[in-house]
Structure formats: structure tokens, C-alpha cells
Amino acid sequence: MDFINDILLGFQVSLQPINLLYCLIGVLIGTLTGVLPGIGPTGTIAILLPVTFHAPPVSSIIMLAGIYYGAMYGGSTTSILVNIPGEPSSIVTCLDGYQMARQGRAGPALGISAFGSFIAGTIGIVGLMFIARPLARAALKFGPPEYFCLMVLGLIILIYLTQKSLIKAISMGAFGLILSYVGMDIVSGQIRFAYGIDELLDGIGIVPIVMGLFGVTEVLENLEKTTGVSLYETHIKGLLPSIKDWADSTWAIIRGTILGFFLGILPGGGAVLASFVSYAVEKRVSKHPERFGKGAIEGVAGPEAANNAASSGAFIPLMTLGIPSNVVMAMLFAGLLIHNITPGPLLLKDHPDIFWGVITSMYTGNVILLLLNLPLIGMWVQITKVPFRFLFSLIILFCVIGVYSINHSVFDIWIMIIFGLIGYFMKKCDYEPAPLALAYVLGPMLEQALRQSLIISNGSFTIFLFRPISCASLVVGAFLLVTAFTGYTKKKRLEVLKEQ
């Protein structure tokens, strides 16, 4: 009965007109973000975070969550029509989606991508509803050692999945940790690494860092390029997939959903990993793997379902454990903290309206996306034609307003500019910003958990080995690092990429 009551409470909250409006705004902005290359959901959420100050907490989080899964929908449109993924999680959709568009089948590709996303998103939310309560209950028994090891595992998985140098990804993680320690020490109250700068006494804000790394850096990179985006001239007709398309895609959607959901839960995992794994699985199980890369509809349906299911799954560690599993979740984590809501096992008990309201809003959001996106595909395609000079200028303007409005401080704008430059040069040197941002968010929690664990154990590190969850997390983390450093996975990954 609890379950039914929870869902009813959730819908009671999410179906309120104000929350429906915020949900609509969120998914529309999310789709726009997904359609437009240059700025992802992380940057968009960072930009809009200050705007939510004046909104009710539940409405704000509903909108911010809508941006995330809306971007998953939107990302596929440009992948299929322009062969440019609006989002990293839509990279694999380009492989077969664009080929389908070239064969005059852009409509079914877009249709199956939208339906697949809807089905996966819906099943993902149902899974979230079932898992959230037992996991939150179990998480209440977690102590600092479990939290520490889970966070370390999350960071290791994110680093493991890095597309470039592993050493550089770990360096970025360490850099992020160091940045997170600027300001007051939570235990002793001592000021750390402020070097006499008053604005650093409270630490460096997450928003200026993220906007610099993901907003300004993207703009600087795109400014270098002189080539424009050309839209594949195709007439989009017949968005509804045929019976044969459905027959080919049904199992791909189901497999993609299950894979995506569980890979989304994994700390450090997420939509990108889910879509790649789903594509590899579909190709492997297919009776005609040679069709992949030449317009196989399963190659669109599976990954699109997987990235949407993963975006639902990613909410589980955030809402139940209070651990953001990727950078977007880290931004939502910041959004909840701004409204004095601490995500974690107590969220369900203290703020059931927010917990269930946000979860059920994802269902209404998925319905809105399906109803709006298919008829509006033409409009989204037109939006990709917005001149870059307007796009980048507006991104910079929103970044500036967003950063300034948090503390009304020009210092934050400088931080954003500095991190924009750092991100730009780091990208040139093949350093990735995601490990830095996640380590920055996890840093204070990681430190607190480690210090508490060591105090409990009188300085003995065996505390991490004698507890099953912490020990298992460390073993998995160590295994991943060993395989990554021995080069086995890199070789495998290159093989998969070569195949694709």
C-alpha cells in the first residue's frame, strides 16, 4: 500500500499546474539543449540554477530534471538529421540514424528514437519507484566507510570511462579534489588555501567552475572552427515506424532499457556508457551485424532507449544515497542544496513530496516529450540553423547572468573566465573536465567520510576491508584500475570503436 500511496502523493505534486508548467519548461529547454551542439545539460542546469532561487524547491528540481532527460530526447534529432550529436550520449545514434536519413528514412528513425526513449524512460521510472525505497532504507545503515568507498568507486568508474589519457583523467580528479578544499574546513573551522582573498573564504562555487569548464570552454572551442553545419536535405515524412520497424526494434528497446537503467545506477556511469554498450550488444546479438552502420533501426532504437533509461537510473544514487553519479547529477545535487534540501536516505522521510514529486514528474515529462517532440521535429530542425554568432553570444550572456546572480559578485565572473581558459587549454592537452567537476562535488563528502572512518577505526585502514559494501567497492575499483592500466580495456575499446 505504501507504494500506491507514494505514487499518488507524487502525482498529486507533479500534476499541480505550476509543476506541470515547470516540467514543460524544463523538457523544452532540455530538448533545445540536446538539439543545439555547443552546450549540454550540465551547462544549461548551471545557467538556470540561480533562476530557481525564487521558485518553490520541488518545481525547481522538476524543471532541472526535465532539462536532463529532455536533452536525451533532443540529442538524437541532430544525430539523425545532421550527423552531429547534440549530446555525447547520442554519438552512436549518428552511426545508423544518419544512414537511415540518407536513405530517406529520417521519419522512422526519429519516430523510433522518440518512442524508444519514451518506453525506456517510462520503464526506468517504474524501476526507480521500486528500487528507491528499499535502497534508501538500506542506505540508512551505511556508515562513513561505505560512503567513502562508494564515492571512490564512482570516481574510478568515471575515470575508467575516460576517452583519452587515464593518467590525465586521474590528475583532473585530484585537481578537482584540491579545488573543493578551498575555504573553511568543516571539522576544524580553519581556512584553507584562501591566500588572503576574502572571496575564497567560503570556497569556490560550483556554478562558476562548471560554467567556465562546460560553457565558456565550449564557446571558445567552437569559435575556432570555421566550418558551418550543413543539414542533410531530406523530406521528413511518416514518423510512425512500420510494423517491420517495430519488430526489429522491440527487443533492442527492451535490452537497451534494462542495460541503460542498471548502467545509469552505477556511480560514475551514465547515459554515454549506456548508449555505447547497448549498440555493441545489439550488433553482437543481431543475425545481420553487417547492417550496422548502414541504417539498421536497432542501432538507433537500442542506444536511444539505453540513454533515456540511464537518465532515470542515475537519479537512484543521488536521491537515495546522496551521491551524484555524474556531472549532471552533481548539478542537481547543488540545486537541492541551494533549497536547503540534502539528498540522501533521509530525503524520502523528510521531503516525500519532493522525492515522489520529482520521480512522477519524470513520467509526465516523458509524456510531454512524446506529445510535443514528434509534431515539433520540424521546429527543432529549424533551430539547428540558428547562426552561431547568436548562439555563442547568448550562451556567454546567460553564463554571466547565472554566475553573477548567485552572490552578486564580479569575482565569480572572474572565476568563470579563469576556468573557461583552464578548460580550453586542458582540452588542448587532452585533459577532460568531467572528472574535475565530479571530484569537486564529491570532495568535501569524501574528505568527511574518510576522516570520520579513520577516527572511528583509530587510524586503521582495515575498516574499509572488514565491511562488505566498502570492501566490494574497493575491490571493483582496484580491478577496474588494474585492467585500465594494463591496457586491456583500451585495446578492447579501440577494437569496438574500429568495428563501429
Binding site: 590528475s171 584540491i178 584553507r192 556567454i396 554571466v400 564580479v410 588542448k428 592537452c429
Partner: protein, 155 residues
């Protein structure tokens, strides 16, 4: 070129890690039974130092194949990013003094001009529209406290 970039990038991180390392020692790292405020930064700086040194060494003794390695992003057309940075820095210094409307108008114009210098007259009109509309949305409707500057221009 790539090796040079690796050297510069890793040197920056090495410098940062040395600074944090010495500051952590001053803060006090404590011991394993009672970790101090410098405990975590101390180990994070050692990790950063070790890995960055590795990248630096690889950048020096790497194969000649690496020397020829292409940057993942080219260096061509750097003028636009540099100009944008200059515009942003100027904007940040003038923001409070001149207020949102004037500085945003100037920033928008600068950004449009950086990308396409030819249509400057169109840019003036669009910049004025964007500055006014964004001020209306953020300042008037969303009540974001934007600076009005010494001229106190607002509505």
C-alpha cells in the same frame, strides 16, 4: 606541438601541487587516527604531483612520433577566442560601474563583431534588443539583482 602542450599543462599542475603540498603541511596533516585539515589536500597534491610529473617526463622523453602528434584541436583561428576573452575581461571590470544595460550592450556588440565584423550596424540594433530584453526578463520579472551602475539606468 602536442608534447609542448603536455609539458606546459603538466608544469602548471606540478606548480599547483607543490603550492598545495606546502600549504597542507602548514595547515597540519595530523595523523591517521586524527586527520587534520591538511590531510586530504596533502595526499591529493602528492597524487597530482606524481601524475603530472609522469606526463611531463613522457613529454620530454616521448618518441619522435609523439612530437609530430597533432593537437586534438587546432591552433588556427585563435584570434576569435582571444578577442572573446579580452571582451569578457573588460566586461567584468566595467560591469558594476557602468551597470548591466550598458556593459551587456557592449559585450553583445563585441561578441557579434568578433564573429562577423561586416554587419556592425545590424549588430548594434540586435545588441540593444538583447540587452534590453534580457534586463527585462532577469531584472524585472525574475528579480535577479543586476547592477544599474553609476547612471542608475533601469526600469
Amino acid at each position: 606541438m602536442k608534447k609542448w602542450m603536455d609539458r606546459i599543462g603538466s608544469l602548471f599542475l606540478i606548480g599547483l601541487s607543490v603550492l598545495i603540498f606546502s600549504s597542507s603541511l602548514k595547515l597540519g596533516i595530523g595523523d591517521f587516527g586524527n586527520p587534520g585539515p591538511g590531510f586530504m589536500p596533502f595526499f591529493a597534491s602528492i597524487l597530482l604531483f606524481s601524475l603530472s610529473s609522469l606526463v611531463f617526463i613522457k613529454g620530454i622523453i616521448g618518441s619522435s612520433k609523439d612530437e609530430e602528434g597533432e593537437l586534438s584541436i587546432g591552433w588556427e583561428n585563435l584570434t576569435k577566442p582571444i578577442n572573446l576573452m579580452i571582451a569578457l575581461i573588460c566586461f567584468s571590470f566595467l560591469f558594476k560601474a557602468l551597470g548591466y544595460l550598458i556593459t551587456t550592450f557592449l559585450l553583445m556588440f563585441a561578441m557579434f563583431f568578433i564573429y562577423e565584423p561586416k554587419k556592425w550596424y545590424v549588430h548594434i540594433v540586435i545588441s540593444a534588443i538583447v540587452a534590453s530584453l534580457s534586463f527585462l526578463v532577469f531584472y524585472t520579472w525574475l528579480r535577479v539583482q543586476l547592477p544599474t551602475g553609476i547612471f542608475r539606468i533601469h526600469w
